[in-house]
């Protein structure tokens, strides 16, 4: 060891994944601080003749364009004085008090300035944020959004993955492009895939603002989200917009009946070098106030692309959640981040999401990477396709609706095939491109784009260009679907177009359920007011949450055991006490030869017995198999066997594989050697146990065989199986005396 190398304990700690993350010493002058920045203003509001002349310690002559827009459009002057006069701590308490309704809070917040609301929310602890989120989100029913992208903009894979995401329960799908010009093709492919997967799934294609609007106008996408807001004027302008252009854009979407939300998120200004010595949270408070002022129905925030900037400073993760709650307080739809991966550590990224998952949000993830990390063209998400089963298990653990459901493998295979068939037919019909059968087969089976070797990388670009040049709209896509026998999908795509005519999904927090009902602030308002109120999953939905594909019942395990049933072990007669000193009884449990045929390590019970017999034989002993019918307790099985044994030594074996060596003079719960971890015991170890039992029988003191060590969660893997196998054993217990068994 060299002198400047850390000691082993720290070398070991340094190797852990969390230490790949960057952690910043707070630097308020750079905006690297979650709350209470150097330049965060004191809340204030001065109204003169119905006009705001000072806001947050700044007089109107000094208003920048963000202040100006908020002051002229964003503050409800009829409640402003009452709201601003309220003590911030007292108001913060109302957020977690069931006696103050969501409506009453929303009313007062509409008169609060950005600094005032930041002051209120910075007082909530993590636990209080969970309660506030539960109470304040707009829509009662939580939901979730997925990213559906891939490295090559492969339309077949996009469609198959969109259908898959819909099958898993995502109600919004967001795609984007590695090659900007491919966007129209991606929009078409994902819209078709979504329609294959489920009715009412909203689709967006995240590209430059004007291009995204153009896609929407053609009906090729059904909502928009990439409308970015920033908390300082300079960064806003660097983003090539102003509050006025964003307000106009917001109206432009609504004028075509298209749902949209804006995107902001703490840390972006610091990341772009323009935080103006303000805290991340205060700047985000300006964004959220502006979002309300320009008339956006919702906000995607919670760090987003700069989540790891917030994550790098003390309290940063709490500030991300507080941003989300702030959106809810402004009576807007909250699409709560948890998209850009903010840590290399599975523990940290789970911790970052978990309170929001528990509290419940309009969209828990504003982009769960439903595809593989390498295929995510937004960059890896906080949650990715490898985490879908984790997410489903966590929903089940807490009984929480995170928006997802288990999807059946055969059904997903069918949907993926149908999605690739539909896209192939539409692209061919509209002259966008032709796909080979091999490509389609690979797309159906692929876990990611690396599994596809026969794609044509130029096809998406050609298709996209043709869509633009020949002015393909969703009407053409619907006609092409119908012409090729995809009537169901044609109808689902049409239903999304018709939704624009009704406009109900323009309201706050709107999604469609699978019957095309709009769930929104208007139709499905969150009225949480303490335990027993608010969102409760329907029995059918609870069953989806509770029933994951991996769960097994006792009947399932019994059936599995029966599939291994064998006639090679059978009862030969009743067992008597032996006086042969070479006799070693192998006492087996009641289910042996009846209902349990395979041990937890996957060996057949008869193979295990064969190994023990062989070990005994090596030591010159004779094994005798005796089934102990009246107890499933391994100690009692071993002791009963030892008392029948001529040598006084026995091997006790439960059919699930747990084994011990016993002797007739010991207490029932004592033993000479024990294999307690059945799933890890190999043939060789059972043979060693036979050898050691033989040595004990001869009066020697052999070196005990040790259980193999494992740092895996063996108990998590097998305990449910153990409960079932023990139950099967119990059902086999009878008052019959011990019986000799033979192996054929």
């Amino acid at each position: 060891m060299t002198s400047n190398e850390p000691i082993g304990r720290f070398r070991f700690m340094n190797e852990q994944r969390v230490n790949l993350d960057g952690f910043a010493t707070p630097a308020p002058e750079l905006g690297l601080v979650a709350f209470h920045g150097l330049n965060d203003p004191a809340p204030s509001l001065v109204i003169d003749s119905g006009r705001i002349v000072e806001m947050d310690s700044r007089s109107e002559s000094d208003f920048d364009s963000i202040d100006e827009f908020i002051a002229r459009h964003g503050i409800d002057l009829t409640v402003a004085q009452e709201a601003m006069a309220m003590d911030s701590t007292e108001f913060a308490r109302r957020l977690v008090d069931p006696n103050h309704s969501r409506k009453s809070i929303v009313r007062l917040v509409s008169g609060m300035t950005p600094a005032k609301l930041a002051e209120v929310l910075s007082q909530l602890s993590a636990a209080e944020l969970v309660i506030a989120m539960t109470k304040m989100r707009a829509r009662r029913t939580p939901s979730n959004q997925a990213h559906v992208t891939n490295r090559s903009d492969d339309p077949l894979l996009l469609a198959a993955d969109a259908a898959t995401a819909a099958a898993f329960g995502f109600r919004e799908l967001e795609t984007t492009v590695p090659v900007a010009a491919d966007a129209p093709s991606n929009a078409v492919a994902v819209s078709i895939g979504a329609a294959v997967g489920s009715p009412g799934v909203l689709v967006q294609c995240s590209v430059e603002e004007a291009s995204e609007l153009a896609l929407g106008m053609r009906g090729l996408v059904s909502y928009a989200e990439t409308v970015s807001l920033y908390g300082t004027e300079q960064i806003f302008i660097d983003g090539d917009d102003t509050p006025w252009s964003k307000a106009f854009l917001t109206s432009a979407y609504a004028s075509r009946g298209i749902k949209m939300r804006v995107t902001s998120g703490g840390g972006s200004e610091a990341l772009m070098g323009g935080a103006e010595k303000c805290s991340m949270f205060y700047l985000e408070a300006r964004c959220v106030a502006l979002a309300r002022a320009i008339g956006s129905q919702g906000v995607q925030n919670g760090g987003i692309d700069a989540a790891s900037v917030a994550g790098a400073v003390p309290g940063g993760v709490r500030s991300l959640m507080a941003e989300n709650v702030m959106v809810m307080l402004r009576n807007l739809e909250a699409c709560t981040g948890n998209d850009a991966l903010m840590s290399e550590s599975d523990v940290r990224r789970t911790s970052r999401t978990h309170p929001i998952f528990i509290g419940g949000s309009d969209f828990i993830n504003s982009g769960f990477g439903s595809i593989q990390r390498y295929d995510n063209m937004f960059g890896p998400s906080q949650w990715n396709s490898e985490d879908i089963d984790d997410f489903l298990a966590i929903q089940r653990d807490w009984g929480v609706d995170g928006g997802l459901r288990t999807a059946d493998e055969a059904e997903v295979a069918r949907l993926r095939r149908r999605a690739t068939d539909a896209v192939s037919a539409v692209y061919s019909w509209l002259g966008l491109g032709d796909f080979s059968a091999e490509w389609a087969d690979q797309a159906v089976d692929a876990a990611g784009s690396k599994d596809i070797t026969s794609g044509d990388l130029m096809l998406p670009l050609t298709a996209a260009r043709t869509i633009m040049e020949t002015n393909v709209t969703m009407l053409d896509v619907i006609a092409a679907l119908a012409e090729n026998g995809f009537d169901l999908e044609a109808q689902r795509c049409l239903d999304m177009l018709k939704a624009r005519v009704a406009g109900d999904y323009l309201q706050t927090s709107a999604i469609f359920d699978e019957e095309m009902n709009v769930l929104s602030l208007v139709t499905d308002p969150n009225e949480y007011s303490g335990p027993g109120t608010g969102y409760q999953p329907s029995p059918a939905r609870q069953s989806q949450i509770d029933t994951i594909r991996q769960q097994r019942s006792v009947a399932d395990l019994l059936g599995e055991q029966q599939s291994f049933e064998s006639k090679n072990i059978f009862v030969a007669g009743s067992a008597e006490v032996s006086y042969d000193p070479r006799d070693v009884v192998i006492g087996v449990s009641p289910a042996t030869g009846k209902d349990i045929w395979v041990t937890l390590s996957g060996l057949s019970v008869s193979d295990v017995i064969t190994e023990i017999m062989a070990g005994l034989e090596e030591e010159g002993c004779v094994g005798r198999i005796v089934r102990i019918n009246d107890s499933l307790d391994l100690g009692m099985i071993g002791l009963t066997a030892a008392r029948l044994s001529g040598s006084g030594v026995s091997v006790g074996l439960q059919a699930k594989g747990t084994a011990l060596i016993h002797r007739r003079d010991l207490a029932p719960l004592a033993n000479l050697e024990l294999y307690s971890v059945a799933p890890t015991i190999t043939r060789e170890l059972y043979r060693m146990m036979g050898i050691n039992a033989g040595r004990h029988a001869k009066g020697a003191t052999p070196e005990p065989v040790r259980n193999p060590y494992s740092d895996e969660a063996i108990e998590a893997r097998y305990h449910t199986k153990v409960v079932s196998l023990v139950s099967i054993e119990r059902n086999c217990v009878t008052q019959d005396g011990p019986e000799v068994m033979e192996l054929r």
Binding site: S65, A252, A293, L494, L497, V501
Partner: protein, 121 residues
């Protein structure tokens, strides 16, 4: 209940997969009607969001504009694209078609952009 008529005035029940297949439907048949947006504005106001209501009313004024015009107006509002006069001209164009709220938005922008250095150099 929301309006059952598209921007073109066609009853939305006439918009079917079959009528699309026949080529009888245009995008204007599946575009929102300004009266529907006015109704949605009422709903938004009743649900505690007057700003969302204002947005829907601005949107109602834009329904009659061609897509290209909407995109052009949006571009004009981006930073450094327009002079004050350009913005005021658009405000007049909007006023001429009765788009009062959008016209006011452009007027306000002309004023603020000049003060904050956001006009074309």
């Amino acid at each position: 209940m929301s309006s059952q008529f598209g921007f073109s005035g066609k009853d939305v029940s006439e918009v079917t997969v079959e009528s699309i297949r026949r080529g009888d439907i245009t995008l204007d048949d599946v575009r929102i009607h300004p009266s529907t947006l006015a109704h949605q504005a009422d709903v938004a106001r009743e649900n505690g969001n007057p700003q969302l209501a204002e947005n829907f009313l601005r949107a109602a004024e834009l329904t009659g504009l061609q897509d290209e015009t909407v995109l052009r107006y949006y571009d004009a509002l981006r930073p450094g694209r327009s002079t004050s006069n350009d913005l005021l001209e658009i405000a007049d164009e909007l006023m001429a078609i009765g788009a009062v709220k959008n016209s006011e938005l452009f007027r306000q922008a002309a004023d603020v952009y000049a003060r904050r250095g956001l006009i074309a150099k």
